[in-house]
């Protein structure tokens, strides 16, 4: 069953002269790990805002077409109701954090759901430990670094354990090793708890390996969609200017040079290294 479905979705911000997204029809299945990418300003963030009702309820503007999330028609359900099902991690963590301490921020959503105190404590500690901010729990979020704030924003959404987590460039301020660990945590939650993940990212070197499904947008439209190995090795993706992982790119270049490599397109260094090792052995 599709957990998110949009039908001919077109949206224009108030005062906008042209739609930010046009005719977007996509289906995201339950339990999928979906990567959305595309040039900056292509409408990725706008699309994410349609998934939890920020569009149209908060931003208003003109919405045509339909969005269904966990079976609910977004236009007909208030944000607080949708928030039980979809958690959104914003691009800029400062837009999301407001409490006086990290743990209060992480607990806020759960308190609003009216969850029992004990359960809240358990969930908040769990989320803070997963994201590596347990030591910061008494600090004020506005005193933290950009990377630390992003961890807090992610923790506050994970704590809710929603059916769908939408993350808009969630680790842009984190150092590479920190970002890698966060993606591993998100991937594990996706695999173990079956949480559907929608991730907006430019840095495919770090993230392509986790995705089941990739959506590439350009100029407000979905222009390519499908399995990452097929899409990222296509000439179209390169021409749109998507940051193809270097391992994938190297594979393509070598294939063009006539080198025989295995049949599956690699998405990360491990896959590429294994494939090269094999090819070098065969040539012995």
């Amino acid at each position: 069953m599709a957990v998110i479905e949009t039908k001919k979705l077109t949206y224009t911000y108030p005062g906008g002269t042209k739609p930010s997204i046009r005719d977007v029809s996509i289906k995201i299945e339950k339990g999928e790990f979906v990567l959305i990418t595309g040039p900056s300003g292509c409408g990725k963030t706008t699309l994410c805002r349609c998934f939890n009702g920020l569009i149209p309820h908060f931003y208003q503007g003109e919405l045509k077409g339909e969005v269904f999330v966990t079976g609910l028609k977004v236009a007909e359900h208030p944000i607080y109701e949708l928030a039980k099902h979809v958690g959104l991690v914003f691009q800029n963590p400062e837009n999301q954090l407001f409490a006086l301490s990290v743990e209060k921020d992480v607990a806020f959503g759960l308190e609003n759901l009216g969850m029992a105190r004990e359960e809240i404590r358990k969930r908040v500690d769990w989320a803070m430990k997963l994201t590596g901010i347990y030591e910061l729990r008494e600090r004020a979020p506005n005193e933290l670094s950009g990377g630390q704030q992003q961890r807090v924003a992610i923790a506050s959404v994970l704590a809710m354990q929603p059916e769908v987590i939408v993350l808009d460039e969630p680790t842009s301020f984190l150092d590479p090793l920190g970002a890698k660990k966060i993606f591993e945590v998100i991937y594990e939650l996706n695999r173990k708890l079956g949480i559907t993940v929608v991730l907006v990212e430019h840095r495919l070197d770090l993230t392509a390996r986790y995705a089941d499904h990739i959506i590439i947008m350009d100029n407000g439209k979905v222009v390519l969609e499908g399995k990452p190995r097929e899409i990222l090795s296509s000439e179209e993706a390169r021409l749109i200017g998507v940051g193809i992982p270097k391992a994938t790119r190297l594979y393509q270049i070598l294939r063009k040079d006539g080198v025989k490599l295995g049949g599956t397109v690699p998405l990360c260094s491990e896959e590429m290294a294994a494939m090269l090792r094999e090819a070098l052995k065969l040539n012995d």
Binding site: S40, G41, Q148, A179, D205, V242, L250, V259, C268, L280
Partner: protein, 274 residues
Amino acid sequence: MIEVKNVYFTYPNGVEALKGVSLTIKDGEFVAIMGQNGAGKTTLVKHFNGLLKPKKGNVWVDGVDTRKVSVATLARKVGFVFQNPDNQLFSETVENEIAFALKNFGFKPPVIEKRISWALNLLGLKQYRKTSPFMLSGGERKRVALASVLAWNPKILILDEPTIGQDYQQKEKLRQFILQMNTQGKTVIIVTHDVEFVAECNPRVMLMSKGKIVADGEAKKVLTDPDVVTKASIVPPQVSQIFIQLSDLGFPKETIDIYTAREILLNALKGKDS
């Protein structure tokens, strides 16, 4: 030239951000400062334009002790583009945003006009001239912030996380743009986590960890040293990762760009054929 000698800095909340940093950045150098979150990178570069003054030690910009001059004086020479553009933008239109500093520096209106057009063109923002910066996407706002600093043509350019929210093509433009500025003699200092971006530029890299500089050298040497890299909480560029995994077969791990990688691999595979 920027000279930093044995600098210590502690924030009012007690966090010791810099613990004895010394370095020299010569005119016309291109430097990337990388490392763990909270390692002190932003704190360090905020010393370069006098936003922060050392608690101990000294910072000189072109021979002038930063403690003895105002940020406004230094700003003419040292342009700083912040990590988060929202901390920097405030005007009603992109055009006014860029004009603001130019007016403050006392440029004449025709010069201001010329500089605005130049900066808008350079960063692909022409169509947004009359738009509010707050209507733009995160990546676009980032470019407005950059345009507003470039417009006054500072000699030293500091970019804190310039690639955040930028797509592949914009990063490529940014890279060419930085290289161009650098060729024209500007000193460019970037603070970044973007390993792939740095791999493509191959600048001098300084890695920081816990308030100290733990490595300093050419990108392809520093970024491919697994021990140093882990200490600074970064990962080697993907091409180098492949070669590190194949190092038992005698491949050079200091390979960070894809075309060198192609040459090496083609030779290796051909060599085996014959």
